[in-house]
Symmetry: D2
């Protein structure tokens, strides 16, 4: 819990925060004036988007190395203990992979809840480059794009020069 | 044509290059020692990947602004004359959009011919950042990824915390 | 010129647009309702940011290949005639490199005029991924960042694990 | 420790691995055939680059919000307890910020040890998009680039159209 507000108001509510937090002295704090709490929570979520994306890319690279026949949840389990990349999100990832190793039946469709967008807008407004947070957001947007106009246009442009053949949708449907 | 080789060898072949080039004095040149011609051609193709991606993203943003009912090939036609973004690839793009405004039947599947990869590897080896060329390559790779392991894993992770619901593939198939 | 407005108003001003455009019939158009003209011009500028970035990365990769001793303006001149990457921005690039091959005295400081930001915000609001346009904007922002907090923090973090040594600013100043 | 090798060889060395690992049963594992251990370690490091970049961007965005006067190490301390982004790297980050809140004297110069490059090359060879890992590597490369040819060229191009003024290096040196 990241609390923003006037000091007087925050102090008055201290017993509430101490009761709600994981422990009375940690897991919450008065971080600044009104608005600061939401701001800090927003940035937290922006970071979260990219931490998730990092794990996802890494396990996808492991998954693709078929010749090694890697057990992804075993690797996550090793990394959970003593590695540099250990994190709470890695624990979730490992649990997900243990339960459903090939992620069967889960669509590659990733919603976003708005705070990642807000983080990117704030970064740009503040003149701070946030390339990987920005890209993690865009990756989620792309995962939900059913039209894929840009990729269709690229395929069409490639056909315009050099006579590269276009893959028709029918060919894709037929596998 | 970008020719690499010993000066003596290139001069001996000058009549050939002059005959093949768009004009005897332009469109070809002796750019450096053996290997230089392929290197310059490689970078040309790396740039090409991102020029195409830029146009594709721009027209996708125009296409998505439904309330304006924009005619994309009309806009391409305007931009071809006197705008800052005029280019040969814009001419191809405009022609493609004029012929097939909604890109019907064209799959969002974008091959790459290898020179973009080589450009990215060279940039990294030379310690030169090439973020948009690299990303244009990765976008093409992503367009052809049928497994989409990373996005499936992200969807699964989101479910692990906060109880965000997962979109099942069945739901996607049913529209 | 990309004109937005009511048809009646645009038609009344037709003689003005025809006089201002590169030619009466090309280089301008009535693209949609009020607001549409600014919107199309905004996307034009977003594309422009990335077209520039593509050329800049490409020539930086050529410049770094010291063993070939490439003449960048010669290469730009060859590409201007008949290559896939020919564009008006390439002509500017080539002229800039011919006049000042090593770009002496020009600071790596790249302003942005606001329309690139607006393009990125619109893309996100419309749920269209625009990764290379977004990254081109962020690259410009980064070029002007004098604090570089993120990179300082990365250097500090590397020191925290593995005992990687930190480069002090004094060492950098001393070359 | 991620061990690759023939099962017989790994079993013979089991007592060694059990002695070296954080605990006999966790923190190490036989992940696959010869080469698999290095491969998994390589991907670990690729993920690490981006986890670090995510934290660095997030704290840079917090640092830039001057009106809130945020205490970055306090925020790191809160996030360490119960937040979604808690990780070992966050602990290092928090310690670094507690010790040196403004990162005084630390140059924005970020080395890389080669395994991030290898991860990016492998991803591309396997046709797996790894945009944020790739970008984290490129950001490190950029942090060490003293020439900044691409940004100089962008500044020069901007001057070529529209007459945008160029910032000279002298002006930058004078603040």
């Amino acid at each position: 819990m990241m609390i923003g507000g006037e000091t007087k108001a925050v102090e008055a509510l201290r017993p509430v925060f101490e009761a709600l937090a994981p422990s009375p002295t940690t897991g919450w704090g008065h971080v600044g004036p009104p608005g600061a709490g939401h701001y800090v929570k927003m940035v937290h979520n922006g970071i979260e988007y990219d931490l998730m994306q990092a794990d996802a890319e890494g396990f996808a690279i492991l998954d693709a190395k078929e010749e090694f026949g890697l057990d992804l949840s075993q690797i996550g389990e090793i990394w959970r203990h003593g590695s540099v990349v250990r994190s709470w999100l890695l624990e979730l990832t490992t649990a997900a992979l243990a339960e459903n190793p090939q992620l069967d039946g889960i669509a590659p469709y990733v919603p976003d809840s708005g705070e990642g967008r807000w983080t990117v807008f704030e970064a740009i407004d503040l003149n701070i480059a946030a390339p990987v947070i920005g890209l993690s957001l865009m990756g989620r947007i792309e995962s939900r794009d059913e039209i894929e106009f840009a990729d269709r246009l690229l395929a069409s442009m490639r056909n315009g020069f050099g006579g590269h053949s276009i893959t028709t949708e029918k060919a894709i449907d037929n596998g």
